[in-house]
């Protein structure tokens, strides 16, 4: 009987079916890989199982018994522990205390039993084959060591199900092998491990069973042996190209933006590409490939360690977003909630934020002008809101995304970088955004479209660049690009292994 069974689980956000009637079981003592494109519902499932959110319908069963996981503490008690890409730890405390925070082992006198705690921590660390001691302050540990710490913490609460979400994204090769050895030890102890990764060679090397998700639906669950990497890719892709992408024909002009040898130590290395006027260039790749990091460095948000950029023939040193905007370069951030909008402010305040210098006369605001600007984009992007003065916090996800788009279009950029523009929005908004993008390109705007949704990349782009682990691996023209060869490039799967 399986340790954890999902039966008919569904969850939707504001009209978008993130998870649709998913059922499969996870057996104790096995490594169960969960694969699928971005937005296929993987992270939503993780949040359902760890009690961060609750399903709309369907049941979760532990050892055959239906359970309701209302919050993270309940999940903990049931032995379900999740580990994210950047583990959350107490940087100021020692390793041992991180493992036992909030539930220190007590001596007879009800005091903290330091020796007992450190011995117990040492035992677990030894088992995981770790090279740092229980007394080491966590502040000095790298990501790999912090992950081992999370695993140690899970073992100390004798967790029965450990979910690892993209654990190897930031690890070096030998750190990955070390992690695999640890996972195999967990398996021998009867712990079930849900392993989520887009690195199919890791899935092949580690997993006992593989579950493939697509568009929030459960496609298949098979023993790893029976699925080659190529077959997995074929199950992953093949999303219906139903949404008709109205790609207007745009006349491609000369080179507007050239980057060569862009490098940021430890994140991405020698990225070189060109963008032409009126062209939409898709930038594909999995989470952690470094696409957002490249965009943020170009826009001056993060530092750049090397490489040169030219905009319209003139060199450009990205010192700050303000400098980039002045050169006609705009960036629509991936994290809409925290970086795209100022929630408590109105639509017109947000729309005019990036262009205030142009809208003000001698430093004085002109509210009428701002309101008309906001109305223009509300109408152009069909944003459903009562008035420009409405607070952005009260808008739906789709409308918020349109306001962010409007904000950057108001800056009248010549080059627009879009980072996951349609992530988590309803189908209607997605179509509106696509229509706007292709219309703008037709008018001569140059667009770099970062997206993890293959249909969107293939449907919208004149050219497709693919990145993996901080490098630009291939460039495909619109006709050459298919879902398979883009995913293969992104996952690093070569022809013969398919």
């Amino acid at each position: 009987m399986s340790l954890l069974e999902l039966r008919g689980i569904s969850k939707s956000y504001g009209g978008v079916r993130a998870v649709d009637d998913v059922s499969f079981g996870i057996e104790p003592g096995t490594v169960h890989a969960l694969v699928g494109e971005n937005g296929a519902g993987k992270s939503t499932l993780v949040k359902l199982v760890t009690g961060v959110i609750q399903p709309d319908d369907g049941d979760l069963l532990i050892d055959g018994e239906p359970v309701w996981i209302g919050d993270a503490q309940t999940a903990h008690r049931l032995g379900i522990v999740a580990m994210y890409q950047e583990p959350t730890v107490f940087p100021d405390l020692s390793v041992a205390e991180n493992v036992f925070a909030g539930r220190h082992p007590r001596s007879r006198l009800h005091t903290v039993d330091w020796r007992g705690m450190e011995d117990e921590a040492m035992r677990i660390l030894r088992e995981l084959g770790v090279d740092f001691g229980p007394g080491t302050p966590v502040r000095g540990l790298g990501v790999a060591d912090r992950q081992l710490l999370e695993i140690a913490k899970a073992l100390s609460t004798n967790a029965r199900l450990l979910i690892m979400d993209e654990p190897t994204a930031a690890l070096s090769p030998n750190e990955v092998d070390n992690l695999f050895a640890t996972v195999r030890k967990l398996r021998e102890r009867g712990v079930a491990v849900v392993y989520i990764s887009h690195r199919l060679e890791e899935v092949a090397a580690l997993a006992d069973t593989v579950t493939v998700l697509r568009d929030g639906r459960h496609i298949d669950t098979k023993p790893a042996g029976e699925l080659s990497q190529g077959e997995i890719i074929r199950l992953m892709v093949g999303r219906s190209l139903d949404a008709l992408f109205p790609k207007e024909e745009a006349e491609i002009g000369d080179v507007v933006f050239r980057a060569d040898g862009l490098t940021r130590r430890g994140v991405f290395a020698d990225i070189s590409f060109e963008l032409r006027r009126g062209e939409i260039v898709g930038l594909a790749g999995f989470v952690g490939a470094g696409r957002t990091e490249v965009a943020r460095s170009i826009f001056g948000v993060d530092p750049l360690d090397g490489g040169r950029i030219e905009i319209e023939g003139r060199p450009f040193r990205p010192r700050s977003p303000r400098a980039a905007l002045r050169r006609g370069l705009a960036y629509l951030p991936e994290d809409r909630l925290h970086e795209g909008l100022v929630q408590p402010m109105s639509i017109s305040d947000n729309t005019s934020m990036a262009v205030l210098p142009a809208l003000t006369a001698g430093g004085f605001l002109r509210p009428r002008l701002e309101r008309s600007l906001a109305r223009r984009f509300m109408q152009q992007l069909s944003i459903k809101a009562t008035s420009p003065a409405q607070v952005v916090r009260s808008l739906s996800g789709g409308n918020q995304q349109k306001v962010v788009l409007g904000k950057w279009l108001a800056a009248e950029p010549r080059i627009l970088i879009l980072d996951e523009p349609t992530h988590g929005v309803d189908v209607g908004t997605k179509a509106d955004v696509h229509r706007t993008i292709s219309h703008l390109a037709a008018q001569g705007l140059t667009i770099l479209l970062i997206s993890s949704e293959l249909p969107e990349i293939l449907g919208m782009s004149d050219r497709v660049l693919v990145m993996r682990e901080g490098r630009l691996v291939t460039e495909l023209s619109r006709d050459e690009a298919t879902q398979e060869n883009v995913i293969q490039a992104a996952a690093g799967v070569t022809e013969e292994a398919a």
Binding site: R106, P137, L141
Partner: protein, 348 residues
């Protein structure tokens, strides 16, 4: 030495940074002792160091309480008023009932302080008022209550029993009585922060509040305990203050919170909570008191001390943030070397 530091793996660097602060203060203390020793003749005299120990004892007692609050990423500005108020309570009790044993009066002062601290805790944890604003308000409110109780009739030393007055003068084994009490409080404080589970939670709450909530730590209740303890120790500080300065008016211990916070910040307690030791705070308090005593002996203007306190807080905070930034830099650089993404690996 620099080469060795750069070669150290970030883990050793972090462990070293952990110890750095205490070593740093001891070094600073030695430099100061040599500097003032050479210039002021009676600086190294036993009686001078007895004075320093006496003056620092009240700061240490209150600073241990303040440390517990700062560890939880909060701050208690009202300790100065609590010291003044409890100090007056002690004097008033002894003046009207000289028979009451001194130890009982100390407990009364701590109980009163505990109550006042509890109010701070409730304001911060339950009413969700930011600690800076809540304790700024209670600073004024407790000082007002102090003035109302005093009502213009100060208690002078002449009204207090000799047994109490002699406490500050007595020096068992050559070490001032007040300093013995402060030492005891520091030891108990250090032991509590080391061995008592709910006290360890202070560190977790300050280090990463979300992770603490995630680990099931009741942050609200812990914060109330921290403020209550800070109040209780400020109450004991009031008792010591009254024995050291037996004539009390409603302005007693005005601005004392600044001296306490200087000792806590210089003592290496991170302003954002999560790290700090009682040993560091005691050393910080001794350093501040020694420099202040040195200023006096050199007949420097009284007000350079206030300037020094402020300057020391800003300097300590700046050094703290530079060290943590340097550490994160080392981490990122080390991770970059490991993570050399070689295209070759992809085609294996």
């Amino acid at each position: 030495m620099i080469a060795r530091v750069r070669a150290m793996r970030p883990q050793e660097l972090a462990a070293a940074a952990f110890r750095l602060r205490e070593i740093g203060i001891v070094l600073a203390l030695l430099v100061v002792i040599v500097f003032f020793g050479a210039r002021a003749s009676n600086f190294l005299s036993v009686s001078n160091w007895q004075d320093i120990a006496q003056n620092v004892s009240i700061v240490v007692v209150v600073a241990v309480g303040e440390t517990m609050v700062v560890l939880t990423r909060n701050i208690d500005l009202s300790v100065g008023s609590i010291v003044g108020l409890c100090g007056y309570l002690v004097a008033a009790t002894l003046a009207h009932h000289p028979g009451v044993p001194v130890e009982v009066v100390a407990l009364i002062a701590m109980a009163a302080g505990l109550g006042l601290g509890l109010i701070n805790g409730l304001l911060v944890a339950v009413a969700r008022i930011p600690a800076i604003i809540a304790t700024l308000a209670t600073l004024a409110i407790y000082r007002g209550i102090d003035a109302e109780i005093t009502g213009g009739k100060n208690i002078t030393a002449s009204q207090l029993p000799d047994r109490f007055l002699s406490l500050a003068a007595s020096k068992p084994l050559g070490f001032p009585a007040l300093a013995w009490i402060a030492l005891g409080v520091a030891v108990v404080g250090a032991a509590t922060l080391r061995f008592v589970p709910w006290a360890r939670d202070f560190y977790a709450i300050g280090s990463n509040p979300d992770a603490a909530r995630f680990a099931g730590i009741p942050a609200g209740r812990r914060i109330i305990i921290a403020f209550a303890l800070s109040g209780a120790l400020a109450g004991l500080g009031g008792f010591l203050f009254a024995s050291r300065f037996p004539t009390l008016d409603s302005g007693a211990a005005n601005g004392f919170e600044l001296t306490v916070i200087t000792a806590v910040v210089i003592g290496g307690v991170n302003v954002f909570g999560g790290s700090g030791t009682v040993l560091g705070v005691v050393l910080g308090a001794v350093l501040v008191a020694t420099i202040s005593n040195g200023f006096t002996l050199l007949r420097l203007d009284e007000f350079w001390k206030i300037f020094f306190n402020g300057f020391a807080i800003v300097a300590a905070v700046t050094i703290d943030s530079l060290v943590t930034r340097r550490l994160q830099e080392a981490l990122r650089r080390r991770r970059a070397e490991l993570l050399v993404p070689s295209p070759a690996r992809a085609d294996a």
